[in-house]
Every structure is written in structure tokens, then in C-alpha cells.
């Protein structure tokens, strides 16, 4: 195979990779819109059913219930080289990964390791 042929094959190959992945990205975008619409529609109808059963406020988000259940972490926490935002994120991740609500977890120190 000559270098020119190799160059052409490479351009074609990269073109095919881009073509397939761009097609996929467009399709995902379209699907997200369509499925989002379907999801919203089912959420609204579920909300209507709840409203008809006498619960005020329409739809109930499960996430908000989970957050309310998880409570707060109590006690003193030393932050060494870590800002509050990062510490809050670490605590939330530990709680989520260990499936232990924050109210049952106590953090003593969060230290930045170099």
C-alpha cells in the first residue's frame, strides 16, 4: 500500500468514526427530547392522580423524601486543607456510597493528602 493510499484510508476511517458517533449524538439528543416529553407526561398524570386522592401539592418527588430522611451529620469536624464545599461533597458521597444516612455518620477530620 502506498503512503497516499494509507492517507486516504486514514481520512476515510476517521470520517467513518466521526460520522457514526455524530449520528449517535444526534439520535441521543432526539431521544432525550422525546423520552423527556414522555417522562414529563407520565409525571403530570401521576401528579393528577395524587391530587385527586386529596394530597395537596400535585407531584411528590421521591428524591426530596430521601434527602429529608438522610438528616444532618452532627458533631465537630476539622477541615485541613479542604474547603467547606468540598467537605460537604465528600460527606454526601460517603453517605450515598455506604448507604448510611448523614444523621448516623460522624466525621471527625477531612484532610487533604498531597
Amino acid at each position: 500500500m502506498s503512503i497516499v493510499d494509507a492517507l486516504l484510508v486514514s481520512l476515510l476511517g476517521l470520517g467513518v468514526v466521526f460520522l457514526v458517533l455524530i449520528s449517535l449524538s444526534i439520535l441521543i439528543k432526539i431521544l432525550s427530547v422525546v423520552l423527556g416529553y414522555i417522562d414529563n407526561k407520565s409525571d403530570i398524570s401521576a401528579g393528577q392522580i395524587i391530587s385527586q386522592n386529596g394530597i395537596p401539592g400535585g407531584t411528590i418527588k421521591t428524591e426530596s423524601i430521601e434527602i429529608a430522611d438522610s438528616g444532618w451529620s452532627a458533631g465537630e469536624l476539622k477541615l485541613i486543607g479542604v474547603d467547606e464545599k468540598t467537605a460537604a461533597m465528600i460527606m454526601a458521597i460517603v453517605s450515598d456510597e455506604s448507604k448510611i444516612p448523614l444523621s448516623e455518620l460522624q466525621f471527625k477530620t477531612i484532610r487533604l493528602i498531597d
Binding site: 476517521l14 468514526v17 449517535l24 449524538s25 441521543i28 432525550s32 417522562d39
Partner: protein
């Protein structure tokens, strides 16, 4: 009595592997020991490098004949590894590994930001650069394609393609691919710092939207249909990858999901690693071509990283600074190592930067991208 003892000792020596060992086999055993050292002490992709290294050791023990095919007159069986190797030769193991990878992969970040797929495509640049250079160096197109796919940074895809196009290069390509994947934290950061400004590396990206369960379930089905219709040759890889992902996302086959991402992938990894290593016999491995493959593999990795980063920079510019270009380098596959490197580099520039989830999108897109690139080569040269 003394004569018979000496004769017995002589017979034992003659029938042992020590007397039959060549210097090339001895050298290969040394190579195997170095690889075992790298896997155990340096922890370079130990899950694969350790079985590969031990496979190299086993295949180079004279008279053990573990990779010997059965005799033509069927007077006896072949070696153990010969039979296990059929899974590589027929493309079964890489596809089963993809089933496990699919069951472990979260495509959520990719679905949340579909433009990640562009980065996954750009990071295949190294495959084609290495392909061109390999042709210039005198490799035939099938060999050049197999060498180029190292740049996809995806071991199973590299093994799948090489076993079909240039099986004689399999050990060198597999060892180069897995070694460079292990070295990603050393290869990528200098290129990332060279091609991006500090201001670009500091960019904090907006949190990704939440992806619904329905989207997660539909995604593997759609990808399978579209990619396999466009490139049927890649159906074994993409089909298995997406089946594994459907196991995970459907939530109704927890046992299958568990098996795919634990027991099955572990068993197949043992067979794949050992038998790929066992193809590294002195006659096929100790050649100047092996050194060329190792060098071309590095070139492929470098250019794949460059491709991802350059498109990342373009996306950064077009989005008005909303995309951190560091996530582009994660498009080289090597899940999740490359995404972790983006996270580490981003956080070095700005400690409040959390790029991991953003980098996972291009990272898993790279898996699809390298499989598509392999499918293209199979269509062209298979």
C-alpha cells in the same frame, strides 16, 4: 551401579527441559519475569499483565508444549493453552470481556452530554497516524491496522482486531496496549499541559443533568441497532457491550448483571491474558518488528491524546469557555484511568474543579469510537 546411576542422571537431564532450552527461550523467560515484576511490584495493569506474563513464561518452557496443536494423526490431544487460545482466535474472549465492561459502565454522562461523542471520535486520531507511519515503516495494511488500533487504548478491541488481521503480532500488540494503558498517568499529563493554557485547565464545568431510567434503557438498544447496522463487523463487540449495559440498566436481571461484571469477566480475563501471553514465543517475539510496534504504540497513544485535546479546545472556544478541554484526553478509552487523569490535572489547576463525571462521557465514547475504528479496519482488510 555407579554407571547405571550416571546413565539414569543423563537420561533425566536429556528428557528435561533444561537440555532443550535455547538462549531465545531463556531470554523470553527473563522478559516474562520482568513483566511479572511490573505487574506485582509496579502494579501496571496487574489484572491483565500478570496472566499475560505467566502465559509468556509457560509458552517458553521447552518440551512443555502447552500451545502445541493436536498431532495431525490425532494420536493425542494438544496442549492446554492451545485449546484455551481458540477463544482468542475466534474472537470470543474480547466480546465476553466487553459484556462485562458494559455491565460495569455508566453511560449516564454520555447521555447527559451527547457532544462527548465528538471527543471520543477525535481521540481516535492516533490510530490513523500510527497506521500511516506503520505503512511507511514497511508493515502490510493488515499489520498496520492492528498496530494502529493500540491508539484506541482498548485492550479487548486491539486483541479482537489483531487476532483477525495479524495474529502473529498479537503478543507484541497486547503487551504494548496494556503497558501503555497502565502508563497513561505518565504519558498524558505532559501533553495536556503542553496543549492547554492554565486558564483553560481552570474552567469549572456545569453539573450534568440527571438522566432518566428510560433513557438509560433505550440507549444500549439504539446504539446496538445503529452501530451494528452501519458496521456489521463490529457487532460482536458493540452487541456484547450494550447487552451488558442493558443487564445493568434494566434492573430486572441482577444475577446476570452480577455474573457479567464479576465472575464471567474474571474467568475470561484469566483465559485471555494467559493465552495471549502464550503466543509470545521467541521466534515471533524477538524480532525488530516488536520494537517498532512498541514505538508505534506510544506514537498512537500520544496522537490520540492530542486529537481529543485539540477538539476539546475547539469545543471550549465554541461554547464560550464552558467546556474544559482536559476532558478531551479522556476520549482515548482506557476506562476509567484516562478520566481520572483529566480529573487530577483539572484539580491541580483549580482545586475546586471536579471533572471526573464530565470526563467519563468522552471516556466511554472512546470505547465505542475505538470499536467503530476496528470495525472499519475489518471491513477494509478483513
Amino acid at each position: 551401579m555407579s554407571i547405571s546411576l550416571a546413565e539414569t542422571f543423563f537420561n533425566i537431564w536429556n528428557s528435561s527441559g533444561f537440555s532443550a532450552m535455547t538462549w531465545q527461550q531463556l531470554l523470553m523467560i527473563c522478559v516474562a519475569c520482568i513483566l511479572i515484576y511490573l505487574a506485582i511490584v509496579k502494579k501496571y495493569e496487574p489484572l491483565l499483565l500478570l496472566p499475560i506474563a505467566f502465559g509468556v513464561l509457560l509458552a517458553n518452557l521447552p518440551m512443555a508444549d502447552l500451545m502445541a496443536p493436536p498431532p495431525a494423526d490425532h494420536s493425542g490431544p494438544g496442549g492446554l493453552l492451545y485449546y484455551l487460545y481458540q477463544g482468542v482466535k475466534l474472537g470470543i474472549y474480547p466480546s465476553l470481556i466487553f459484556l462485562g465492561i458494559g455491565a460495569m459502565t455508566d453511560f449516564g454522562p454520555l447521555i447527559a452530554r451527547p457532544s462527548s461523542l465528538f471527543l471520543g471520535a477525535a481521540a481516535q486520531l492516533g490510530i490513523y497516524i500510527a497506521f500511516i507511519v506503520a505503512i511507511i515503516l514497511g508493515f502490510d495494511p493488515k499489520e498496520a491496522a492492528s498496530i494502529g488500533i493500540i491508539g484506541g487504548a482498548d485492550g479487548p478491541t486491539a486483541i479482537f482486531l489483531t487476532s483477525k488481521l495479524a495474529p502473529e503480532l498479537l503478543p507484541a500488540i497486547a503487551i504494548a496496549a496494556y503497558s501503555y494503558m497502565a502508563l497513561i498517568p505518565m504519558i498524558q499529563p505532559p501533553i495536556m499541559r503542553l496543549l492547554t493554557t492554565k486558564k483553560e485547565r481552570e474552567i469549572e464545568m456545569l453539573q450534568l443533568r440527571e438522566v432518566s431510567k428510560l433513557e438509560r434503557i433505550v440507549f444500549p438498544i439504539v446504539v446496538t441497532i445503529i452501530v451494528c447496522l452501519l458496521l456489521p463487523s463490529v457487532a460482536p463487540l458493540i452487541g456484547m457491550l450494550m447487552l451488558g449495559n442493558l443487564f445493568k440498566e434494566s434492573g430486572v436481571v441482577e444475577r446476570l448483571n452480577n455474573t457479567a461484571q464479576n465472575a464471567l469477566i474474571n474467568i475470561v480475563t484469566i483465559f485471555l491474558g494467559t493465552t495471549v501471553g502464550a503466543t509470545a514465543v521467541a521466534s515471533t517475539f524477538l524480532r525488530p518488528e516488536t520494537l517498532k510496534i512498541v514505538a508505534l504504540g506510544l506514537l498512537a497513544f500520544i496522537f490520540s491524546t492530542v486529537g481529543g485535546l485539540l477538539l476539546g479546545k475547539l469545543m471550549c472556544f465554541l461554547s464560550g469557555g464552558k467546556v474544559n478541554p482536559l476532558i478531551g484526553s479522556a476520549g482515548v478509552s482506557a476506562v476509567p484511568m484516562a478520566a481520572r487523569v483529566s480529573q487530577v490535572e483539572g484539580q491541580k489547576a483549580n482545586p475546586a474543579n471536579f471533572l471526573l463525571m464530565h470526563a467519563m462521557g468522552p471516556n466511554v465514547a472512546g470505547v465505542i469510537g475505538s470499536a467503530v475504528a476496528a470495525g472499519f479496519f475489518l471491513t477494509m482488510f478483513g
